[in-house]
Symmetry: C2
Subunit: 226 residues, 2 copies
């Protein structure tokens, strides 16, 4: 499948590599490919410069948000939650029309320090905000409850015996994402229901952040025992 | 140990019975024992009248919030979160002084329908509000992430192979609660840190409520895979 991953950070890179690993044709979307390729900086996660990363992952493409989205059958929103509206505007509603839009982001607000708070929660969610911004896209929330390493390779912890959540108002889109999750190695996909159920996994991030501090590493997840 | 359980609803009853089962002397606290014993109603959970329940659980006592708290070494807050300040006022700050106060409640707001929202979250928590209301009690948050049946008997699902979270500013109080949790059958107790970390397990309830709807029964929990 032709997949666009919107976001050049650690989440976008890790997911892009994971999706390419299982056989998809992946293009990463960015605001300005030239600047992205020229950037030499190592970010706070110790990432290598994007151009060097891209050379190591030669099967993956780079394009503008709009070009990546237009050419894709499925689009992954993998930028910072706070940038969602900007990135979607750049991608273009027309390029997302009728397509599955997998939102893996979180509405993190770092303006008051660490741990971050959520800029939308409880009575609304970022997934719903995204759906309202691009009403003709078929938004699915998933994977926001784990670190990018776990997103792309769940088998890295406990053989993959843990849970990922799916929320969408579009049953076919939820099924398409569920298939993609199985391809990545996810064994337990728990479909919560309509997109408003994404409020649950987004609020869970409040617990995830405290577990991260207590456990001391991002390679963990929960298994729903039922 | 002499334990007071503040609350006569399904959570208070179930926890009281579980704590009595493992050998503790349990007294349930209520606003007015006479009214509680006179009440004939079956609540929305299909519970029997309290007097009938108490006859079936003859080892458990009933007293005013204040008398129950005064006589106890450890106090469990097991009423509705919205009633916390009222119940603590009735119990009396002096009767809670120096004692472990285990808060198993959630800040649920049902005023806008179902699923409920949280009346405090993200930048504060009900556990912290309780600690501020009774600064000389040693507040510990735990067990709010599971239904009462699971609280009192974790071995009922998957042999107890799942996780409970503990938050407190008082290390000794957290340890006392951890021991109590082990007595009830909890195997995996994850200490998150100071009481502000209770914001995490409280926000998780947003996910718990959506899982309840998707799974269709309250007998579930999460195991933290790390």
């Amino acid at each position: 499948m032709r997949i666009a991953v919107l976001g050049t950070g650690v989440v976008g890179r890790t997911l892009a590599r994971g999706l390419a690993r299982v056989g998809h044709h992946v293009v990463i979307g960015t605001r300005d490919p030239e600047s992205t390729l020229a950037a030499a900086e190592t970010d706070q996660h110790g990432s290598v410069a994007f151009a060097a990363w891209l050379r190591e992952n030669s099967g993956i493409g780079l394009a503008t948000f709009a070009d990546a989205a237009e050419a894709a059958e499925l689009v992954v929103f993998a930028s910072a939650g706070a940038r969602a509206m900007d990135v979607l505007r750049a991608a273009g509603a027309r390029n997302l029309e009728g397509k599955v839009l997998l939102d893996v982001s979180n509405p993190l607000d770092f303006t008051t320090g660490y741990p971050p708070t959520l800029f939308v929660k409880d009575t609304d969610s970022l997934a719903e905000q995204i759906q309202r911004a691009v009403p003709r896209a078929r938004v699915v929330k998933a994977l926001n409850t784990v670190s990018s390493y776990v997103m792309a390779d769940p088998t890295a912890i406990d053989g993959g015996d843990h849970t990922v959540f799916v929320s969408s108002d579009d049953g076919d889109a939820a099924e398409a994402v569920t298939s993609l999750l199985h391809e990545l190695g996810w064994k337990d996909v728990l479909t919560l229901g309509g997109l408003s159920t994404a409020r649950g996994p987004e609020m869970y991030v409040g617990l995830w952040l405290r577990m991260l501090a207590a456990i001391g590493k991002p390679e963990f997840n929960v298994r729903v025992v039922r």
